[in-house]
Amino acid sequence: MSAIAELSMTDLAGAIARGEVTALAAAEACIARIDAKDKALNAFIRLDRAEALEAARAADRKRASGGALGPLHGVPMAHKDMYYREGRVSTCGSKIRRDFVPKVTATVLERLDAAGAIDLGTLNMAEFAQNPTGHNAHFGDAHNPWNPPYCTGGSSSGSGVAVASRMVYAALGSDTGGSIRLPATICGVTGIKGTQTRVSRAGVMPLSFSMDNVGPLTRTARDAARFMAVIAGQDPKDPTSAPEPVPDYEAALTGDIRGLRIAVPQEWFFDGADDVVVTAFEAALDVLKARGAVVERISAPSLGPVCTAVAVVSRVEGATIHANWMRERAGDYAVHLSARLFGGYALPANYYLEALSLRGPLLRRFCAEALGGYDIVATPTLRTRVPTLAETDVDADPANWQRFMAVSANTRPFNYLGLPTISLPCGFDDRGLPIGLQLAGRPFAEGRVLQVADAYQRETDWHARVPG
Protein backbone atom coordinates (compact mmCIF):
# COMPACT_ATOMS: atom_id res chain seq x y z
CA MET A 1 0.00 0.00 0.00
CA SER A 2 1.36 3.44 -0.88
CA ALA A 3 2.18 5.94 1.84
CA ILE A 4 -0.45 8.27 0.38
CA ALA A 5 -3.22 5.72 0.89
CA GLU A 6 -2.26 5.40 4.55
CA LEU A 7 -2.88 9.07 5.36
CA SER A 8 -5.99 10.14 7.22
CA MET A 9 -8.50 12.33 5.40
CA THR A 10 -7.43 15.50 7.22
CA ASP A 11 -3.73 14.72 6.79
CA LEU A 12 -4.27 14.19 3.07
CA ALA A 13 -6.25 17.44 2.74
CA GLY A 14 -3.40 19.27 4.48
CA ALA A 15 -0.76 17.63 2.28
CA ILE A 16 -2.67 18.57 -0.87
CA ALA A 17 -3.17 22.15 0.32
CA ARG A 18 0.57 22.47 1.02
CA GLY A 19 1.46 20.97 -2.35
CA GLU A 20 3.13 17.91 -0.87
CA VAL A 21 0.74 15.50 -2.55
CA THR A 22 -1.36 15.99 -5.67
CA ALA A 23 -5.04 15.17 -5.83
CA LEU A 24 -4.24 13.01 -8.84
CA ALA A 25 -1.75 10.93 -6.87
CA ALA A 26 -4.32 10.47 -4.11
CA ALA A 27 -7.01 9.38 -6.57
CA GLU A 28 -4.60 6.98 -8.26
CA ALA A 29 -3.62 5.53 -4.88
CA CYS A 30 -7.28 4.88 -4.08
CA ILE A 31 -7.97 3.32 -7.46
CA ALA A 32 -4.95 1.06 -7.04
CA ARG A 33 -6.39 -0.11 -3.71
CA ILE A 34 -9.79 -0.69 -5.31
CA ASP A 35 -8.23 -2.68 -8.15
CA ALA A 36 -6.27 -4.76 -5.66
CA LYS A 37 -9.00 -5.38 -3.09
CA ASP A 38 -12.50 -4.94 -4.39
CA LYS A 39 -12.88 -8.10 -6.41
CA ALA A 40 -12.81 -10.01 -3.12
CA LEU A 41 -14.59 -7.45 -0.93
CA ASN A 42 -17.31 -6.06 -3.25
CA ALA A 43 -17.50 -2.57 -1.74
CA PHE A 44 -18.21 -0.70 -4.95
CA ILE A 45 -21.36 -0.75 -7.05
CA ARG A 46 -19.96 1.73 -9.59
CA LEU A 47 -16.45 3.11 -9.97
CA ASP A 48 -16.30 6.32 -12.00
CA ARG A 49 -12.63 5.91 -12.78
CA ALA A 50 -12.18 8.34 -15.67
CA GLU A 51 -14.40 11.06 -14.19
CA ALA A 52 -12.63 10.87 -10.84
CA LEU A 53 -9.17 11.14 -12.37
CA GLU A 54 -10.27 14.12 -14.44
CA ALA A 55 -11.78 15.78 -11.36
CA ALA A 56 -8.49 15.22 -9.53
CA ARG A 57 -6.53 16.84 -12.36
CA ALA A 58 -8.94 19.79 -12.23
CA ALA A 59 -8.37 20.05 -8.47
CA ASP A 60 -4.63 20.19 -9.02
CA ARG A 61 -5.03 22.88 -11.68
CA LYS A 62 -7.16 24.92 -9.27
CA ARG A 63 -4.51 24.74 -6.58
CA ALA A 64 -1.78 25.64 -9.05
CA SER A 65 -3.76 28.70 -10.13
CA GLY A 66 -3.92 29.94 -6.56
CA GLY A 67 -7.69 29.55 -6.18
CA ALA A 68 -9.26 29.27 -2.75
CA LEU A 69 -9.37 25.66 -1.59
CA GLY A 70 -12.13 23.97 0.36
CA PRO A 71 -11.48 21.93 3.52
CA LEU A 72 -11.67 18.65 1.56
CA HIS A 73 -9.91 19.83 -1.57
CA GLY A 74 -8.77 16.88 -3.67
CA VAL A 75 -9.79 14.17 -1.18
CA PRO A 76 -11.15 11.01 -2.88
CA MET A 77 -14.34 9.60 -1.44
CA ALA A 78 -17.22 7.38 -2.49
CA HIS A 79 -20.69 7.17 -1.01
CA LYS A 80 -23.44 4.72 -0.24
CA ASP A 81 -25.53 4.30 -3.39
CA MET A 82 -28.56 6.15 -2.05
CA TYR A 83 -27.29 9.73 -2.33
CA TYR A 84 -28.87 11.14 -5.45
CA ARG A 85 -26.77 12.86 -8.08
CA GLU A 86 -28.75 14.32 -10.94
CA GLY A 87 -28.46 12.21 -14.06
CA ARG A 88 -26.51 9.34 -12.42
CA VAL A 89 -28.03 5.99 -11.50
CA SER A 90 -28.69 5.51 -7.78
CA THR A 91 -29.65 1.88 -7.21
CA CYS A 92 -30.37 2.08 -3.47
CA GLY A 93 -28.88 -1.42 -3.45
CA SER A 94 -32.04 -2.78 -5.03
CA LYS A 95 -33.37 -4.54 -8.09
CA ILE A 96 -36.39 -2.24 -8.07
CA ARG A 97 -34.22 0.88 -8.50
CA ARG A 98 -31.43 -0.71 -10.49
CA ASP A 99 -31.95 1.87 -13.27
CA PHE A 100 -33.27 4.80 -11.22
CA VAL A 101 -31.88 8.13 -12.42
CA PRO A 102 -32.67 10.97 -9.99
CA LYS A 103 -33.47 14.48 -11.12
CA VAL A 104 -31.91 16.13 -8.08
CA THR A 105 -28.58 16.11 -6.29
CA ALA A 106 -28.44 15.50 -2.56
CA THR A 107 -27.58 18.58 -0.52
CA VAL A 108 -24.80 16.68 1.23
CA LEU A 109 -23.18 15.82 -2.11
CA GLU A 110 -23.41 19.46 -3.13
CA ARG A 111 -21.71 20.47 0.12
CA LEU A 112 -18.95 17.89 -0.33
CA ASP A 113 -18.45 19.02 -3.93
CA ALA A 114 -18.20 22.63 -2.77
CA ALA A 115 -15.61 21.59 -0.17
CA GLY A 116 -13.49 20.12 -2.94
CA ALA A 117 -14.03 16.38 -2.42
CA ILE A 118 -13.51 14.01 -5.35
CA ASP A 119 -16.34 11.49 -5.89
CA LEU A 120 -15.02 8.08 -7.00
CA GLY A 121 -18.39 6.37 -7.36
CA THR A 122 -21.09 4.54 -5.46
CA LEU A 123 -20.83 1.95 -2.71
CA ASN A 124 -22.59 -1.29 -1.93
CA MET A 125 -25.28 -1.26 0.73
CA ALA A 126 -28.11 -3.31 2.13
CA GLU A 127 -31.15 -3.26 -0.15
CA PHE A 128 -32.98 0.01 0.55
CA ALA A 129 -30.73 0.37 3.63
CA GLN A 130 -32.93 -2.15 5.38
CA ASN A 131 -30.62 -4.59 7.13
CA PRO A 132 -27.96 -4.41 9.85
CA THR A 133 -25.63 -7.04 8.38
CA GLY A 134 -24.89 -5.81 4.85
CA HIS A 135 -26.37 -8.76 2.95
CA ASN A 136 -27.33 -7.85 -0.61
CA ALA A 137 -29.07 -10.35 -2.88
CA HIS A 138 -28.87 -8.13 -5.97
CA PHE A 139 -25.32 -6.79 -6.03
CA GLY A 140 -23.71 -9.49 -3.91
CA ASP A 141 -22.74 -9.30 -0.26
CA ALA A 142 -19.85 -7.08 0.72
CA HIS A 143 -17.22 -9.00 2.70
CA ASN A 144 -15.49 -8.11 5.92
CA PRO A 145 -11.97 -6.88 5.09
CA TRP A 146 -10.58 -8.48 8.26
CA ASN A 147 -12.08 -11.89 7.62
CA PRO A 148 -14.22 -12.27 4.49
CA PRO A 149 -16.74 -14.94 5.65
CA TYR A 150 -17.90 -12.50 8.33
CA CYS A 151 -20.48 -9.81 7.78
CA THR A 152 -19.55 -6.17 7.26
CA GLY A 153 -22.36 -4.67 9.24
CA GLY A 154 -25.05 -2.70 7.48
CA SER A 155 -26.66 -1.08 6.00
CA SER A 156 -23.69 1.05 4.87
CA SER A 157 -21.65 -2.06 4.11
CA GLY A 158 -19.59 -0.73 1.22
CA SER A 159 -18.81 2.44 3.16
CA GLY A 160 -17.33 0.46 6.04
CA VAL A 161 -15.34 -1.82 3.77
CA ALA A 162 -14.01 0.95 1.51
CA VAL A 163 -12.80 3.14 4.38
CA ALA A 164 -11.27 0.23 6.32
CA SER A 165 -9.49 -1.09 3.24
CA ARG A 166 -8.09 2.34 2.37
CA MET A 167 -9.96 2.42 -0.95
CA VAL A 168 -11.29 5.87 0.00
CA TYR A 169 -10.53 8.37 2.76
CA ALA A 170 -14.14 8.76 3.85
CA ALA A 171 -17.63 7.76 2.80
CA LEU A 172 -21.18 8.78 3.48
CA GLY A 173 -23.33 6.21 5.20
CA SER A 174 -26.83 6.59 6.57
CA ASP A 175 -28.11 5.58 9.97
CA THR A 176 -31.71 4.73 10.88
CA GLY A 177 -31.01 1.96 13.39
CA GLY A 178 -27.23 1.83 13.39
CA SER A 179 -26.33 1.71 9.70
CA ILE A 180 -23.30 3.99 10.09
CA ARG A 181 -22.16 2.75 13.49
CA LEU A 182 -22.50 -0.98 12.76
CA PRO A 183 -20.29 -1.12 9.65
CA ALA A 184 -17.95 1.27 11.43
CA THR A 185 -17.54 -1.06 14.40
CA ILE A 186 -17.53 -4.28 12.38
CA CYS A 187 -15.04 -3.01 9.79
CA GLY A 188 -12.87 -1.18 12.35
CA VAL A 189 -13.38 2.47 11.43
CA THR A 190 -14.98 5.57 12.96
CA GLY A 191 -18.59 6.49 12.17
CA ILE A 192 -20.87 9.19 13.51
CA LYS A 193 -24.54 9.98 13.22
CA GLY A 194 -25.45 13.48 14.30
CA THR A 195 -28.41 14.69 16.30
CA GLN A 196 -31.68 13.96 14.52
CA THR A 197 -32.27 16.98 12.20
CA ARG A 198 -28.57 17.95 12.25
CA VAL A 199 -27.76 17.00 8.63
CA SER A 200 -29.98 17.57 5.60
CA ARG A 201 -31.69 14.56 4.08
CA ALA A 202 -32.72 16.32 0.88
CA GLY A 203 -31.95 14.10 -2.10
CA VAL A 204 -31.36 11.04 0.06
CA MET A 205 -33.32 7.79 -0.24
CA PRO A 206 -35.79 7.61 2.66
CA LEU A 207 -36.26 4.67 4.98
CA SER A 208 -37.85 5.99 8.16
CA PHE A 209 -38.42 9.73 7.99
CA SER A 210 -38.45 10.10 11.78
CA MET A 211 -35.12 8.41 12.33
CA ASP A 212 -33.04 8.65 9.14
CA ASN A 213 -29.63 10.28 9.58
CA VAL A 214 -26.84 11.18 7.19
CA GLY A 215 -23.25 10.94 8.34
CA PRO A 216 -19.70 9.82 7.55
CA LEU A 217 -17.52 6.79 8.06
CA THR A 218 -13.90 7.89 8.40
CA ARG A 219 -10.51 6.72 9.62
CA THR A 220 -10.34 9.02 12.67
CA ALA A 221 -12.50 11.20 14.90
CA ARG A 222 -10.69 14.24 13.52
CA ASP A 223 -11.71 13.21 10.00
CA ALA A 224 -15.29 12.84 11.20
CA ALA A 225 -15.18 16.32 12.75
CA ARG A 226 -14.00 17.87 9.47
CA PHE A 227 -16.58 15.94 7.47
CA MET A 228 -19.46 16.83 9.79
CA ALA A 229 -18.54 20.50 9.69
CA VAL A 230 -18.93 20.39 5.91
CA ILE A 231 -22.28 18.60 5.75
CA ALA A 232 -24.12 19.73 8.92
CA GLY A 233 -26.44 22.71 9.17
CA GLN A 234 -29.85 23.88 8.10
CA ASP A 235 -30.95 23.31 4.51
CA PRO A 236 -33.94 25.06 2.92
CA LYS A 237 -34.52 21.92 0.87
CA ASP A 238 -35.07 19.87 4.04
CA PRO A 239 -37.65 21.59 6.25
CA THR A 240 -36.87 19.15 9.07
CA SER A 241 -33.23 20.28 9.29
CA ALA A 242 -32.35 22.14 12.48
CA PRO A 243 -31.44 25.85 12.56
CA GLU A 244 -28.87 25.41 15.34
CA PRO A 245 -25.50 26.87 14.29
CA VAL A 246 -22.70 24.42 13.47
CA PRO A 247 -19.69 24.94 15.73
CA ASP A 248 -16.06 24.36 14.79
CA TYR A 249 -15.92 20.67 15.62
CA GLU A 250 -12.17 20.42 15.11
CA ALA A 251 -11.59 23.19 17.63
CA ALA A 252 -13.21 20.92 20.24
CA LEU A 253 -10.51 18.27 19.73
CA THR A 254 -8.23 19.42 22.49
CA GLY A 255 -7.42 16.00 23.88
CA ASP A 256 -8.40 17.32 27.32
CA ILE A 257 -11.23 15.32 28.89
CA ARG A 258 -10.23 15.88 32.52
CA GLY A 259 -13.30 15.95 34.73
CA LEU A 260 -15.63 14.92 31.94
CA ARG A 261 -18.27 12.56 33.25
CA ILE A 262 -19.17 9.34 31.44
CA ALA A 263 -22.22 7.23 32.28
CA VAL A 264 -22.47 3.51 31.55
CA PRO A 265 -26.12 2.36 31.66
CA GLN A 266 -26.52 -1.09 33.18
CA GLU A 267 -29.76 -1.88 31.37
CA TRP A 268 -30.11 -3.38 27.89
CA PHE A 269 -26.64 -2.86 26.37
CA PHE A 270 -24.97 -5.82 28.10
CA ASP A 271 -27.80 -8.37 27.85
CA GLY A 272 -26.19 -11.49 26.37
CA ALA A 273 -22.92 -9.64 25.68
CA ASP A 274 -19.86 -11.68 24.81
CA ASP A 275 -17.02 -11.57 27.33
CA VAL A 276 -14.44 -10.51 24.76
CA VAL A 277 -16.57 -7.46 23.90
CA VAL A 278 -17.09 -6.50 27.53
CA THR A 279 -13.39 -6.86 28.24
CA ALA A 280 -12.46 -4.57 25.35
CA PHE A 281 -15.14 -2.07 26.39
CA GLU A 282 -13.88 -1.97 29.98
CA ALA A 283 -10.32 -1.48 28.73
CA ALA A 284 -11.54 1.46 26.64
CA LEU A 285 -13.14 2.99 29.73
CA ASP A 286 -9.82 2.60 31.53
CA VAL A 287 -8.13 4.59 28.77
CA LEU A 288 -10.65 7.40 29.18
CA LYS A 289 -10.25 7.32 32.97
CA ALA A 290 -6.48 7.51 32.59
CA ARG A 291 -6.98 10.74 30.66
CA GLY A 292 -8.98 12.19 33.52
CA ALA A 293 -12.58 11.27 32.71
CA VAL A 294 -14.86 10.07 35.49
CA VAL A 295 -16.74 6.86 34.66
CA GLU A 296 -19.78 5.72 36.63
CA ARG A 297 -22.38 2.94 36.24
CA ILE A 298 -25.91 4.27 36.18
CA SER A 299 -29.45 3.00 35.81
CA ALA A 300 -31.61 4.16 32.89
CA PRO A 301 -34.97 2.38 33.13
CA SER A 302 -36.35 4.43 30.24
CA LEU A 303 -34.34 2.20 27.89
CA GLY A 304 -37.02 -0.49 28.13
CA PRO A 305 -39.78 1.62 26.58
CA VAL A 306 -37.29 3.22 24.19
CA CYS A 307 -36.29 -0.14 22.75
CA THR A 308 -39.90 -1.11 22.21
CA ALA A 309 -41.05 2.20 20.74
CA VAL A 310 -38.14 2.41 18.28
CA ALA A 311 -39.19 -0.89 16.73
CA VAL A 312 -42.77 0.28 16.27
CA VAL A 313 -41.75 3.52 14.56
CA SER A 314 -39.14 2.00 12.26
CA ARG A 315 -41.26 -0.94 11.18
CA VAL A 316 -44.34 1.15 10.38
CA GLU A 317 -42.48 3.89 8.53
CA GLY A 318 -40.37 1.40 6.56
CA ALA A 319 -43.41 -0.63 5.61
CA THR A 320 -45.48 2.39 4.64
CA ILE A 321 -43.09 3.83 2.07
CA HIS A 322 -42.68 0.43 0.43
CA ALA A 323 -46.41 -0.43 0.32
CA ASN A 324 -46.90 0.09 -3.41
CA TRP A 325 -43.93 -2.06 -4.37
CA MET A 326 -44.94 -4.68 -1.79
CA ARG A 327 -48.31 -4.95 -3.59
CA GLU A 328 -46.90 -4.94 -7.10
CA ARG A 329 -43.32 -6.23 -6.95
CA ALA A 330 -42.85 -8.13 -3.72
CA GLY A 331 -40.86 -10.79 -5.54
CA ASP A 332 -38.26 -8.20 -6.51
CA TYR A 333 -37.19 -7.74 -2.89
CA ALA A 334 -34.79 -10.09 -1.16
CA VAL A 335 -36.61 -12.57 1.07
CA HIS A 336 -35.35 -11.03 4.31
CA LEU A 337 -36.50 -7.56 3.29
CA SER A 338 -40.01 -8.38 2.14
CA ALA A 339 -40.36 -10.50 5.28
CA ARG A 340 -39.21 -7.63 7.46
CA LEU A 341 -41.50 -5.12 5.79
CA PHE A 342 -44.53 -7.41 5.94
CA GLY A 343 -45.02 -7.32 9.68
CA GLY A 344 -45.00 -3.52 9.68
CA TYR A 345 -48.47 -3.55 8.14
CA ALA A 346 -49.86 -5.35 11.19
CA LEU A 347 -49.16 -2.58 13.67
CA PRO A 348 -52.19 -0.38 14.48
CA ALA A 349 -52.05 3.31 13.61
CA ASN A 350 -52.62 4.37 17.20
CA TYR A 351 -49.62 2.30 18.33
CA TYR A 352 -47.44 4.14 15.82
CA LEU A 353 -48.70 7.56 16.91
CA GLU A 354 -48.29 6.62 20.54
CA ALA A 355 -44.68 5.54 19.88
CA LEU A 356 -43.98 8.84 18.14
CA SER A 357 -45.70 10.87 20.85
CA LEU A 358 -43.69 9.15 23.58
CA ARG A 359 -40.45 10.14 21.89
CA GLY A 360 -40.15 13.58 23.47
CA PRO A 361 -41.07 12.46 26.98
CA LEU A 362 -38.72 9.47 26.77
CA LEU A 363 -35.86 11.64 25.50
CA ARG A 364 -36.35 13.92 28.51
CA ARG A 365 -36.44 10.92 30.85
CA PHE A 366 -33.32 9.37 29.35
CA CYS A 367 -31.45 12.67 29.57
CA ALA A 368 -32.46 13.01 33.21
CA GLU A 369 -31.40 9.43 34.00
CA ALA A 370 -28.24 9.14 31.94
CA LEU A 371 -27.09 12.64 31.04
CA GLY A 372 -28.37 14.70 33.95
CA GLY A 373 -25.06 14.53 35.77
CA TYR A 374 -22.99 13.25 32.88
CA ASP A 375 -21.62 14.46 29.56
CA ILE A 376 -21.44 11.19 27.65
CA VAL A 377 -23.07 7.77 27.61
CA ALA A 378 -20.76 4.87 26.73
CA THR A 379 -21.72 1.39 25.56
CA PRO A 380 -20.35 -1.33 23.29
CA THR A 381 -21.57 -0.68 19.72
CA LEU A 382 -22.18 -4.38 19.05
CA ARG A 383 -22.64 -6.49 22.17
CA THR A 384 -21.56 -9.77 20.59
CA ARG A 385 -18.68 -10.89 18.44
CA VAL A 386 -19.16 -10.22 14.73
CA PRO A 387 -21.40 -12.89 13.16
CA THR A 388 -20.69 -14.61 9.87
CA LEU A 389 -22.66 -13.83 6.73
CA ALA A 390 -23.99 -17.39 6.82
CA GLU A 391 -25.33 -17.34 10.37
CA THR A 392 -27.28 -14.11 9.73
CA ASP A 393 -28.59 -15.10 6.28
CA VAL A 394 -32.38 -15.04 6.60
CA ASP A 395 -32.84 -15.70 2.88
CA ALA A 396 -31.12 -19.06 3.29
CA ASP A 397 -32.84 -19.95 6.56
CA PRO A 398 -35.62 -17.97 8.32
CA ALA A 399 -34.37 -19.48 11.58
CA ASN A 400 -31.54 -16.92 11.43
CA TRP A 401 -34.06 -14.11 12.04
CA GLN A 402 -33.26 -13.49 15.71
CA ARG A 403 -29.50 -13.47 15.14
CA PHE A 404 -30.00 -11.08 12.24
CA MET A 405 -32.19 -8.65 14.22
CA ALA A 406 -29.93 -8.76 17.28
CA VAL A 407 -27.06 -7.10 15.44
CA SER A 408 -28.56 -3.62 15.84
CA ALA A 409 -29.73 -4.01 19.45
CA ASN A 410 -27.25 -1.50 20.91
CA THR A 411 -27.50 1.11 18.16
CA ARG A 412 -31.27 1.42 17.66
CA PRO A 413 -32.10 3.20 20.94
CA PHE A 414 -30.06 6.25 19.96
CA ASN A 415 -32.01 6.69 16.74
CA TYR A 416 -35.27 6.92 18.68
CA LEU A 417 -33.64 9.25 21.18
CA GLY A 418 -32.14 11.33 18.36
CA LEU A 419 -28.82 11.77 20.17
CA PRO A 420 -25.46 12.30 18.45
CA THR A 421 -23.58 9.02 18.62
CA ILE A 422 -20.21 7.82 17.39
CA SER A 423 -18.60 4.39 17.10
CA LEU A 424 -14.85 3.94 17.11
CA PRO A 425 -12.57 0.89 17.21
CA CYS A 426 -11.51 -0.31 20.67
CA GLY A 427 -10.04 -3.76 20.09
CA PHE A 428 -10.27 -7.08 18.28
CA ASP A 429 -11.92 -10.34 19.21
CA ASP A 430 -10.35 -13.78 19.24
CA ARG A 431 -11.17 -14.21 15.53
CA GLY A 432 -9.40 -11.01 14.55
CA LEU A 433 -12.56 -8.98 14.04
CA PRO A 434 -12.95 -5.43 15.35
CA ILE A 435 -14.85 -4.35 18.46
CA GLY A 436 -16.43 -0.91 18.78
CA LEU A 437 -16.93 1.67 21.50
CA GLN A 438 -20.16 3.71 21.22
CA LEU A 439 -20.36 7.21 22.72
CA ALA A 440 -23.52 9.34 22.80
CA GLY A 441 -24.00 12.92 23.94
CA ARG A 442 -26.76 15.43 24.54
CA PRO A 443 -28.69 16.83 21.55
CA PHE A 444 -26.42 18.88 19.24
CA ALA A 445 -23.33 17.95 21.29
CA GLU A 446 -21.54 16.38 18.31
CA GLY A 447 -18.46 18.35 19.35
CA ARG A 448 -18.40 16.74 22.80
CA VAL A 449 -18.78 13.25 21.33
CA LEU A 450 -15.97 13.91 18.86
CA GLN A 451 -13.80 15.38 21.61
CA VAL A 452 -13.97 12.17 23.65
CA ALA A 453 -13.45 9.95 20.61
CA ASP A 454 -10.42 11.98 19.58
CA ALA A 455 -8.97 11.85 23.10
CA TYR A 456 -9.33 8.06 23.04
CA GLN A 457 -7.63 7.81 19.65
CA ARG A 458 -4.69 9.88 20.94
CA GLU A 459 -4.01 7.04 23.39
CA THR A 460 -4.71 4.03 21.18
CA ASP A 461 -3.92 2.77 17.69
CA TRP A 462 -6.92 0.52 16.95
CA HIS A 463 -8.16 3.05 14.39
CA ALA A 464 -4.79 3.05 12.60
CA ARG A 465 -4.70 -0.69 11.95
CA VAL A 466 -5.34 -1.79 8.39
CA PRO A 467 -6.69 -5.19 7.30
CA GLY A 468 -4.20 -7.28 5.33
Binding site: Q196, V335, A339
Partner: protein, 67 residues
Amino acid sequence: MTTEDTSAMEAAIDRWNGIAAPNQAARAGLADHLALITAFEALRGMLGFEDEPASFEAALRAEQEKA
Protein backbone atom coordinates in the same frame (compact mmCIF):
# COMPACT_ATOMS: atom_id res chain seq x y z
CA MET B 1 -47.99 -17.17 20.21
CA THR B 2 -50.21 -19.38 18.09
CA THR B 3 -50.54 -20.12 14.41
CA GLU B 4 -54.07 -18.75 14.77
CA ASP B 5 -52.65 -15.39 15.92
CA THR B 6 -50.27 -15.05 12.99
CA SER B 7 -52.90 -16.23 10.53
CA ALA B 8 -55.24 -13.53 11.80
CA MET B 9 -52.51 -10.91 11.35
CA GLU B 10 -51.79 -12.14 7.86
CA ALA B 11 -55.47 -11.88 6.95
CA ALA B 12 -55.69 -8.39 8.45
CA ILE B 13 -52.67 -7.20 6.45
CA ASP B 14 -54.27 -8.50 3.26
CA ARG B 15 -57.64 -6.94 4.16
CA TRP B 16 -56.34 -3.48 5.07
CA ASN B 17 -53.31 -3.18 2.80
CA GLY B 18 -53.88 -5.57 -0.08
CA ILE B 19 -50.52 -7.20 0.60
CA ALA B 20 -50.10 -10.95 0.73
CA ALA B 21 -47.36 -12.73 2.66
CA PRO B 22 -44.47 -12.76 0.19
CA ASN B 23 -42.75 -15.86 1.62
CA GLN B 24 -42.47 -18.21 4.59
CA ALA B 25 -39.95 -15.94 6.28
CA ALA B 26 -42.60 -13.20 6.38
CA ARG B 27 -44.96 -15.54 8.20
CA ALA B 28 -42.20 -16.49 10.61
CA GLY B 29 -41.46 -12.81 11.18
CA LEU B 30 -45.05 -12.20 12.29
CA ALA B 31 -44.30 -14.08 15.49
CA ASP B 32 -41.65 -11.46 16.18
CA HIS B 33 -44.22 -8.74 15.60
CA LEU B 34 -46.63 -10.35 18.01
CA ALA B 35 -43.88 -10.17 20.63
CA LEU B 36 -43.43 -6.48 19.81
CA ILE B 37 -47.15 -5.83 20.19
CA THR B 38 -47.11 -7.55 23.56
CA ALA B 39 -44.15 -5.42 24.65
CA PHE B 40 -45.88 -2.27 23.47
CA GLU B 41 -49.05 -3.16 25.34
CA ALA B 42 -46.96 -3.15 28.50
CA LEU B 43 -46.33 0.57 27.98
CA ARG B 44 -50.02 1.45 28.30
CA GLY B 45 -50.57 4.38 30.60
CA MET B 46 -47.31 6.17 29.76
CA LEU B 47 -48.75 8.58 27.22
CA GLY B 48 -49.89 11.92 28.61
CA PHE B 49 -53.00 13.66 27.29
CA GLU B 50 -51.00 16.55 25.84
CA ASP B 51 -48.13 14.47 24.44
CA GLU B 52 -47.76 14.62 20.67
CA PRO B 53 -45.01 13.88 18.12
CA ALA B 54 -43.78 17.49 17.99
CA SER B 55 -42.73 17.20 21.63
CA PHE B 56 -39.63 15.42 20.34
CA GLU B 57 -38.22 18.45 18.51
CA ALA B 58 -38.99 20.56 21.59
CA ALA B 59 -37.14 18.06 23.77
CA LEU B 60 -34.11 18.09 21.44
CA ARG B 61 -33.84 21.85 21.88
CA ALA B 62 -34.53 21.78 25.62
CA GLU B 63 -32.03 19.03 26.44
CA GLN B 64 -28.98 20.62 24.79
CA GLU B 65 -25.79 21.07 26.79
CA LYS B 66 -25.89 24.20 28.89
CA ALA B 67 -22.90 26.46 28.39
